[in-house]
């Protein structure tokens, strides 16, 4: 990790113009050290990711540490207004991901008698590897009462249906669904919040916030260059995640193929984004004996090795007999969600821990904001979640309090706006 190299400041970058190659994953940008404790060596040499490219950034991009996620309802019925906003968002996202300001003028250079086009809390902060990722929810195509507001109902992918109710879900409509989502990930929470705040601001009159979520401490790994982080139960999470380096697996499990859905060719090269807000009953979990915790998860707490032995990346042996039944219990989390038990289905997860203060009886209102990118939710997510809801020992300590599904269009080419394939 380098320190003290050229600092990239927002002020210095106004107007953008930093040329970057747009490749999925670790896009080449300029080298600038951030004097932080970031342990991810490969990630540390990159300080910004290109917004434009074949895929949207923020999917296979090495997971940053902070998240601000927002789901919006579209309040207009005017197609052109919506397209106008998408264009505006595209430009703003491009500027902000390069460390620039939200609007073209910036926080402090504009006329004194109008509000600045950037709110200013990110002045002086580097790009912080910000990525901004957009997705479209089922209700954008047809409202719950059946209305095709923007003439795109016939382009709705078949798989883009609201997720079903799963056992243990506490349906909270105020934390679920949405017409459009924006995921902003960065190393600095202020940068992620700044991005969402400004995009939301631009949307007033066209969109309104339905719900949002802040996250910290990524709970999965999207690149082999990263170490596996821990969730709030203290266990390593996402060991078996699809990684950026696995081109074959990404094509098979994450990216929508060109023949996947006839009616929605616009989504080719995109993905589906599942979000689930999972509250953990932290205080109760903390009273579980260590041995039980390990049995519920199916892995050791220290190294994250499967109970059948080896190290973190050793394949679990689900057959290996233990003293009473298999050594990895039949309801252990690692078994229930393992691809071998789910027709080989894998996901690319990039969830975050969250703590939204305390709940009304003094417990931590905390858990995991689960985010997964999949090629088809019907085969890659729903069956796995159903398995988990019915047989996973961890369910005893989880409450699902929010749920949403979005179709994430492919990347934005030069001169295009996000979602142009759908609206153009």
């Amino acid at each position: 990790m380098t320190t003290g190299a050229a600092k990239v400041s927002r002020r210095g970058l106004l107007g953008g113009g930093i040329g970057v190659g747009a490749v999925a994953g670790v896009a080449g940008a300029f080298v600038a050290g951030r004097g932080t404790a970031d342990e991810d060596a490969a990630a540390a040499v990159v300080s910004s990711y290109a917004f434009r490219g074949e895929r949207q950034a923020g999917i296979v991009t090495p997971a940053q540490d902070r998240l601000h996620f927002v789901a919006l309802d579209v309040t207009t019925e005017d197609r052109d207004e919506l397209i106008g906003l998408l264009q505006q968002w595209t430009e703003a996202a491009e500027r902000m991901t390069q460390g620039g300001s939200a609007g073209p003028v910036g926080p402090v250079r504009g006329a004194t008698d109008v509000p600045p086009d950037d709110t200013g809390e990110a002045i002086g902060l580097p790009a912080s590897r910000l990525t901004i990722t957009f997705g479209f929810g089922p209700t954008l195509f047809r409202t719950t009462d059946g209305k095709d507001r923007f003439g795109i109902a016939d382009q709705r992918p078949e798989a883009l249906e609201p997720l079903p109710h799963f056992r243990g879900d506490i349906d909270d409509p105020a934390r679920s669904g949405g017409d459009i989502c924006i995921q902003a990930c960065a190393d600095d929470p202020q940068v992620a919040v700044h991005a969402i705040r400004n995009l939301v601001r631009m949307g007033f009159g066209v969109t309104a916030v339905r719900w949002s979520q802040l996250g910290f401490g990524r709970t999965s790994t999207t690149s082999t260059s990263q170490s596996t982080p821990r969730n709030l139960f203290g266990f390593k999470d996402g060991t078996a995640n699809v990684k950026a380096e696995e081109a074959q697996a990404l094509a098979e499990h994450v990216w929508v193929g060109k023949d996947d859905d006839q009616a929605s060719g616009w989504l080719t090269g995109g993905s589906y984004l599942v979000t689930r807000r999972i509250n953990m009953t932290i205080e109760v979990w903390d009273r579980q004996p260590l041995g039980d915790q390990e049995q519920f998860v199916g892995r050791t707490k220290d190294a994250g090795a499967p109970l059948s032995g080896g190290d973190e990346f050793t394949d679990p042996d689900f057959e290996l007999p233990g003293r009473s039944g298999p050594i990895i219990p039949t309801d252990a989390h690692v078994r229930i969600v393992h691809p071998d038990q789910n027709d080989g289905a894998r996901m690319l997860r990039r969830g975050y821990n969250f703590v939204d203060g305390s709940d009304d009886i003094g417990g931590l209102n905390a858990g995991l904001f689960f985010i997964a990118y999949v090629r088809d939710p019907r085969t890659h997510f729903i069956p796995v979640q159903r398995q988990m809801a019915s047989s996973d020992a961890l369910m005893e300590y989880l409450k699902f309090t929010g749920s949403a599904l979005f179709a994430v269009p492919p990347g934005v080419a030069a001169g295009e706006y996000v979602g142009q394939g759908l609206f153009g």
Binding site: R167, V284, D311
Partner: protein, 396 residues
């Protein structure tokens, strides 16, 4: 909790006597402490880093360097009585056995492949300043605890059966809903007192006690049992609820009764089908019941339609206290301080609950103020924290 009892029943059915608490080695346990020993278990060796240790609490960090699943035992001099054991150690993993042992002769054993005699060696515990006493009639105390708890569970399911019959009649009759509503929380008390045992029957529990949110309707699951009937009796919080026809009522009611009969049958079984109540299962059950309170009752989620959560709350606490009191004589010989602390905190929680009594029962959950709920939640946490150490303490 659903898991606790089942798991313990299965484990302890095979290894009798006292299981010690086991835990994973901390990565930096090389403290040079005479009471911290390293054990390397391979296919054909069981190397213990020392042949002797001073009396007191001794830890064996057992590393499995072989390719089979292994186990480690500390046995009494006779090579029969198990003083402590740690099982299910996968290849390349390390687990720690922590036991408190008095001066004397012992035998260590690794069991690669989990079968046979194991690889044994003599082990000596020398005298030390630490006083370690083991009560001579401990075995008797344990047997007593087991028998008492079994009798308690059997008594509760038989009462549950009687009240469920009565409830089902009232409900089916259709003209006595007020009486059915009054009996509902009272009958359920017998379920809630032994909830951890009832839940260990994975086939019956979802049919009898599932809440609406627990059901995966999209997968074609049906919602049956107490809470489905509860909604039909208290539809006030439901949107556009269509009341059941007399035929539907009969179907759900008969189903509940049939499942209750089955539950009672299994609990009363003797001989080979009899349930076992090893000490740690009883202690875990106590903790599990308090967890039920913390996750469902204190939050008002359990009785969403009837708001009779406090009846369940009290019943869970009763069940937890009975289980605790069952193992209390054993606990007193091992950790009198914990026993006293738990007694006090059970009393405090009960006093708090007493403040919400009304007539023969309790106020409805909606009648509690935010402050009341906060106080109850805090008292549950206060009790649950020491309770989470009960199992380890009684089996140590």
């Amino acid at each position: 909790m659903r898991k606790t009892l089942l798991a313990s029943l299965a484990t302890l059915a095979v290894v009798p006597a006292l299981a010690a608490c086991t835990e994973n080695a901390s990565p930096d346990s090389e403290s040079g402490d005479a009471r911290t020993l390293a054990v390397a278990s391979t296919k054909d060796a069981c190397d213990v880093s020392a042949k002797t240790a001073p009396a007191g609490t001794i830890s064996f960090d057992v590393s499995n360097t072989g390719s089979d699943v292994t186990e480690f035992y500390l046995l009494a001099e006779d090579g029969l009585r198990i003083v402590g054991e740690v099982e299910n150690i996968g290849p390349s993993l390390t687990k720690t056995l922590t036991v408190t042992v008095p001066e004397g002769e012992y035998v260590t054993a690794c069991k690669p492949g989990m079968v046979g005699e194991g690889i044994r060696a003599d082990f000596k515990v020398t005298s030390s300043d630490e006083k370690v006493t083991v009560s001579a009639d401990e075995a008797e105390l344990i047997e007593q605890a087991t028998n008492n708890y079994r009798a308690y569970v059997q008594d509760q399911t038989s009462q549950l059966l009687v009240k469920t019959k009565e409830f089902v009649e009232l409900y089916k009759a259709g003209d006595s809903d007020d009486e059915a509503r009054a009996l509902y929380p009272v009958a359920r008390e017998h379920w809630e007192r032994i909830e951890t045992v009832a839940e260990s029957f994975g086939d019956l529990d979802p049919k009898m006690d599932a809440r609406e949110a627990d059901v995966d309707f999209a997968a074609g699951e049906k919602w049956t049992g107490w809470h489905a009937i509860e909604k039909d009796l208290w539809p006030a919080r439901a949107e556009k609820y269509a009341a059941w026809t007399p035929e539907e009522r009969a179907t759900y009611a008969d189903d509940l009764l049939a499942n209750t009969v089955e539950l009672d049958k299994r609990v009363q079984a003797t001989g080979t089908g009899a349930l076992e109540y090893p000490l740690d299962a009883i202690a875990n059950g106590s903790r599990g019941l308090l967890e039920e309170v913390a996750t469902g009752k204190v939050t008002g989620e359990e009785e969403f339609w009837s708001r009779t959560d406090l009846w369940d709350f009290q019943a869970n606490v009763d069940g937890a206290r009975i289980a605790f009191e069952g193992v209390q004589p054993v606990l007193e010989t091992k950790n009198a301080e914990l026993a006293e602390q738990l007694t006090t905190r059970f009393t405090e929680l009960n006093e708090l609950l007493d403040g919400h009594r009304k007539g023969d029962g309790f106020v409805y959950y909606d009648e509690l103020t935010k402050d009341d709920v906060d106080q109850l939640a805090a008292a549950v946490n206060t009790l649950s924290e020491p309770l989470s150490h009960l199992t380890a303490a009684v089996v140590s």
